[in-house]
């Protein structure tokens, strides 16, 4: 009797969580539509729909299909990728402040991207498809470097030291990026500056194609591993006891997180804080169980970036880079978490 009651209760809360996730999907669709309407040239919702179904003018088609749509799709995808990456990092390191941007993983990827762009400035299809691999390597190297530097014999890795090392490595890589690229070509300084500000610079369909396979492969893989993440979060001993090969799973999941961060950096630039805010908001909404937390994080992340990008494009006459908008929201949130954390 009692157990069936509990089960019902459980089902009810699960239904609630599914509902919340459904609501987030609806919100993303709404944001998507609003974002398609806004920009330098305004299109009414009706015009957008007409154009989508092939009845718009040539000009409207170019605006929508060549400029706006790829950019919006990219913002949703990187938002999802960064937030899920942050969710994994927070779970694995058991550290509420972890985020691929704050930890310096993004900057490693960025250095690779910037170097590559400076050496091979022509943007053809092959080189764009190659970018995410390169930035994955950069992100991975940065992750190894930060892990190694934060590791102390006998103490392991303390959460604060990990973040601190990440912040410092990110600062160092940004400096190195400026110095190096200036030496290569002075023109590339502009690119580095745009990159550092977190502007979604790759906004055509080629970039969408470059990013899509990474998100499409890694997200389902991670969602399948939700239970493993739940167990890892309980602590190494507990996880071992429950029959999870902790070290191996941790490395695989970490690689997946680095891959997601790297791929999104390859097309978006240095957007930080998404991986921090996304999972935190999601946790407030659906709780800590990864089966719900991961998809909810992905959705909040996507919503956040699409909103930031729309705000950056619409509220002010001049376009403000997305990364700046996210940082203005994200940095105070980080401070709030820092003050609250034990």
């Amino acid at each position: 009797m009692n157990t069936t009651f509990k089960k019902n209760q459980q089902q009810k809360t699960n239904m609630k969580k599914v509902l919340v996730i459904g609501l987030l999907v609806v919100l993303i669709v709404v944001a998507f539509i609003i974002s398609m309407n806004t920009g330098y040239i305004r299109l009414s919702p009706l015009e957008v729909f007409e154009t989508l179904f092939g009845k718009g003018t040539d000009k409207q088609e170019v605006i929508l299909f060549e400029f706006r749509l790829p950019r919006i799709v990219i913002s949703v995808l990187i938002g999802m990728a960064l937030a899920v990456s942050g969710c994994i990092l927070q779970t694995i390191s058991r550290n509420a402040l972890a985020d691929p941007g704050i930890l310096g993983i993004n900057s490693g990827a960025g250095l690779m991207v910037v170097l590559y762009i400076t050496f091979f400035p022509e943007k053809n299809f092959m080189s764009i498809m190659f970018l995410p691999f390169l930035s994955f390597i950069g992100a991975g190297l940065a992750a190894i470097l930060i892990y190694g530097l934060a590791y102390k014999k006998g103490e392991g890795i303390s959460p604060t030291r990990l973040i601190l090392t990440g912040v410092a490595v990110a600062a160092g890589i940004s400096s190195a990026m400026i110095v190096l690229t200036l030496r290569l070509t002075p023109e590339s300084y502009q690119f580095v500056a745009t990159w550092l500000a977190g502007s979604i610079w790759g906004s055509n369909w080629d970039f969408v194609l470059a990013l899509l396979p990474w998100v499409m492969l890694l997200l389902p893989y991670i969602f399948l591993k939700a239970q493993t993440l739940n167990v890892i979060y309980l602590g190494d001993q507990m996880a071992n006891g429950l029959g999870v090969a902790v070290e191996r799973e941790r490395r695989l999941l970490l690689a997946a997180a680095v891959g997601l961060a790297g791929a999104s950096v390859a097309v978006s630039g240095g957007i930080g804080f998404v991986g921090l805010i996304g999972p935190h908001l999601a946790k407030q909404l659906v709780g800590a169980r990864q089966q719900f937390l991961l998809p909810a994080s992905a959705l909040t992340g996507g919503l956040l970036v699409i909103a930031a990008d729309t705000i950056g494009r619409s509220i002010f006459q001049t376009e403000i880079p997305t990364g700046i908008v996210v940082a203005v929201i994200g940095a105070p949130y980080f401070l709030y978490l820092l003050a609250r954390e034990k």
Binding site: L97, L149, K152, T160, R161, I163, L164, T165, V167, A168, V169, A171, G172, S174, S175, A176, I178, V179, L182, R183, P186, A193, A197, G272, F316, Q317, T318, E319, I320, P321, G323, I324, V325, A327, V328, A331, P332, F334, L335, L338, A339, R340, E341, K342
Partner: protein, 347 residues
């Protein structure tokens, strides 16, 4: 920490204070500073020999182009670098001593970013503001930055650990930097603010120097005057009180000095970090824990570091300038990681 232990520590520290070494280091530093200033003046787009440099300063002749170049472009720039370097280094030294935080630096704790943010506001809303007011606002910005960082730091449950402060500093900095960039783009003042992101002394002119030098001299001298008290506070609050120090007053004065120094420096050179971290640590390792020697040596070597960094910034990739903040960041970050790892036990 019991009192007797700290007294023993104090005796220990007296032992490892090395005044003679400090004196030699100071004299050596002054000589090195003068030489590097001369070298920096003579090297550049057109190399000018030492004799002309000497003449241009002591026997100025309007008709010689080289003299004009030196007087109008190179001299203010080099002197500006020296003054600014001293300011950053001493502000770092005072902060480290007073907060007993090995990771204290005006860049790391959000002072520079705060000043930069207020400067962005000035350029956007009060264009054509006179330079003395810009310094005042820069000082105000540094105060806001420091206030926020220490405020958030003290809100944290386990209090103000050095690492937490640096994390708060990083977040406050990224907030202010994002806001300033937004303002710069929106109000189209990026050009005026470009110096700030990258950091550089290329904009230093005589009229800047005329205003910042007296401020810097007064602040540096005051730092040296309270250096004995800073030494005692650096040994621990109880020790300082036990030795008859009015720690509250000293801390207030010290914080004012730090803010004035950082604000002034940022108004000239922009957000250059790590000088206040690197220099005091190195001088402390050499001269021991007596701030009467740490402060003057930090002053000299901070100036030296910035003069050399500026020389490198001009020559590495001539005719383009490498941002000096990025250059020092490349050295500063490994140094920071090293200090953070050690946990600053020697402080």
């Amino acid at each position: 920490m019991s009192t007797s232990e700290t007294y023993e520590e104090k005796i220990e520290m007296e032992k490892i204070s090395r005044p003679m070494v400090g004196l030699y280091l100071f004299i050596g530093g002054i000589i090195a500073l003068i030489l590097s200033i001369m070298a920096s003046i003579s090297l550049g787009a057109a190399d000018i020999d030492f004799k002309t440099v000497w003449n241009s300063i002591f026997h100025y002749n309007e008709d010689v182009t080289a003299h004009q170049v030196i007087q109008e472009v190179r001299l203010p720039r080099v002197l500006g670098a020296a003054v600014v370097g001293s300011c950053f280094a001493v502000s770092g030294a005072v902060m480290q001593g007073m907060t007993r935080n090995p990771l204290a630096d005006s860049g790391l704790l959000g002072l520079n970013a705060g000043a930069g943010f207020v400067l962005a506001l000035c350029f956007a809303f009060l264009p054509g503001l006179s330079y003395s007011f810009i310094i005042l606002f820069s000082f105000l910005g540094a105060t806001i930055g420091a206030g926020l960082v220490f405020g958030v730091g003290s809100l944290t449950r386990n209090g103000l650990t050095p690492m937490r402060l640096v994390l708060a500093g990083a977040a406050v900095s990224s907030l202010f930097i994002a806001l300033s960039e937004g303002i710069a783009i929106y109000f189209n003042v990026s050009q005026d603010l470009a110096f700030w992101y990258a950091g550089g002394v290329s904009g230093a002119k005589w009229y800047h120097l005329k205003i910042i030098t007296p401020i810097a001299v007064v602040a540096l001298a005051s730092a040296w005057i309270i250096s004995r008290s800073i030494t005692m506070i650096s040994l621990g609050e109880e020790v300082a009180v036990g030795l008859g120090q009015r720690t509250k007053v000293v801390k207030m004065v010290g914080m004012m000095i730090v803010l004035v120094l950082a604000g002034t420096a940022v108004s000239v050179v922009g957000g250059v970090g790590f000088v206040g971290l690197i220099i005091p640590h190195i001088t402390r390792a050499i001269v021991g824990h007596d701030y009467r020697w740490i402060i003057p040596n930090s002053m000299v070597y901070g100036g030296l570091l910035l003069v050399l960094a500026d020389l490198a910034a001009r020559t590495l990739n001539a005719p383009y300038e490498t941002p000096i903040g990025a250059l020092i960041g490349v050295i500063g970050v490994p140094f920071f990681l090293y200090i953070a790892r050690k946990g600053g036990k020697e402080l």
